[in-house]
Symmetry: C2
Subunit: 270 residues, 2 copies
């Protein structure tokens, strides 16, 4: 069992209650990564219906999770249709809701009656070996999650605040060599440096208010290429768009989140 599988595992208590343990290995600073926490809730939702692939997952982050502590997931099956299951979940710790999720699941490999197709080709970036390892420099905080994920950043965008655009791209994979799956894509959509750092420099912790991920195809084995950019930043709230491709060049997920840029002390005050 991979680290990711083991550390997002849920155990059924009743039909609507699941127990889990929130690991400290996926932290951004002292808080569990949002995509990691969401993967725990999604793992419970996946077991409610017959459809394995999350085609739309929206997570509202209510409060930071607590690392190294038990969690409970409360689920509700909203509708089980022939092609789509819709369900929701609340992840709680110590009786306090940490995130609220709604998701639709389907079977991405089911044949369709429509032949038309359209997609987005991956951007051309250097291979992982020519990228630079993600460090904590962009955020000025410790990143325990880097022991669990290999994240290689396109060097042109790796110099905080010097890229001139609010964009970041690079490669990501599970750190123990496990292959990516549709659940890992949810994590990968929230594990790159905040794209604002390319424009603003060190941005600190950028909490997500809400993250929506659309999984489009099951990923092939190997690295996943991610590209993220901030399209709108206004009164401290930013919209960040993301896309993930597998090594075969197939678009495997699209994401959008609304996040919060927190005030930081001016450099001279540090």
């Amino acid at each position: 069992m991979s680290w990711f599988e083991a550390e997002t595992a849920v155990e059924r208590i009743t039909d609507v209650r699941w127990s889990a343990h929130v690991s400290g290995h996926w932290n951004i600073g002292t808080n569990p990564n949002g995509g990691y926490l969401a993967a725990i809730a999604l793992r419970a939702l996946r077991r409610l219906g017959p459809h394995p692939d999350p085609i739309s997952v929206t997570t509202h982050f209510l409060r930071p999770g607590t690392a190294g502590a038990a969690a409970e997931v409360i689920t509700e099956l909203i509708r089980e249709g022939r092609t789509i299951t819709t369900a929701r979940a609340t992840l709680t710790q110590d009786g306090t809701p940490r995130l609220e999720m709604i998701a639709s699941l389907a079977d991405l490999t089911a044949p369709a009656d429509v032949d038309h197709a359209l997609t987005i080709a991956p951007p051309s970036i250097p291979p992982p070996s020519e990228c630079v390892l993600r460090s904590g420099v962009e955020q000025g905080i410790e990143l325990p999650i880097l022991d669990r994920l290999d994240i290689m950043i396109d060097a042109d965008q790796a110099a905080a605040g010097r890229a001139g655009t609010a964009a970041v791209s690079g490669w990501i994979r599970l750190g123990d060599g496990a292959e990516p799956d549709v659940l890992a894509l949810l994590l990968f959509a929230d594990a790159f440096p905040p794209s604002l750092f390319g424009l603003l420099g060190v941005v600190g912790w950028v909490p997500s208010i809400e993250l929506t991920v659309h999984v489009r195809r099951r990923p092939a084995s190997g690295w996943i290429l991610g590209q993220f950019s901030t399209s709108d930043l206004h009164r401290g709230r930013m919209i960040e768009n993301g896309a993930l491709w597998d090594e075969s060049g197939a678009l495997v997920a699209q994401s959008r989140q609304i996040g919060l840029l927190l005030p930081r002390p001016a450099p001279t005050e540090r």
Copy 2:
């Protein structure tokens, strides 16, 4: 009171139950428009907390609504924070859930401690007077909603299947001259012709599986400019991205939906 206000009105029955009436004036074919139905649910959610502006609204469409019939909205306040209220709603008719919504609300005019800003400028398109009135031709179905909304489409993209790209842009406003507000933006994000028609021609009814709208700024008076494009279509499910600007050029909302392209009879079989 505008048509939009009157026909999306909700009346409190208890703290968690609201009654409404689904009008037949906002139909796409025989089904109420999804953005219109969602606006009813959002109107109830707005009354749960102190924050007036929906900054993130995700709606899962479970079944089509029934036009000209009563509806009930069941609400739940998930969290009322200092700056953000998070809540969810189920809209039912005849005891059957039609849509499920989760939303975060805030005050878009509240001062922020962060000065950095970034935005997307509106595309340059002809003024409304030089655009063409939306007709039902793109979908091959009746559009009663065009009695309630003025929708002017950029002529370059108005010839179904001839634009060569899955994109549409144009102008929209409430048909009775009422000014746009943050709730109307939810409706406007789901009222343009499906952007696939520019590529594929007549596409029929394209049901939304899930629609997420991020309202970014309160709109100024006048027309709203909308631009929509389909980025990925695979096995009949498409991702459509949208953006709305007001007449001052301010980005007022971003949207993304996953929709379903239904099989259609080949032209020779019609």
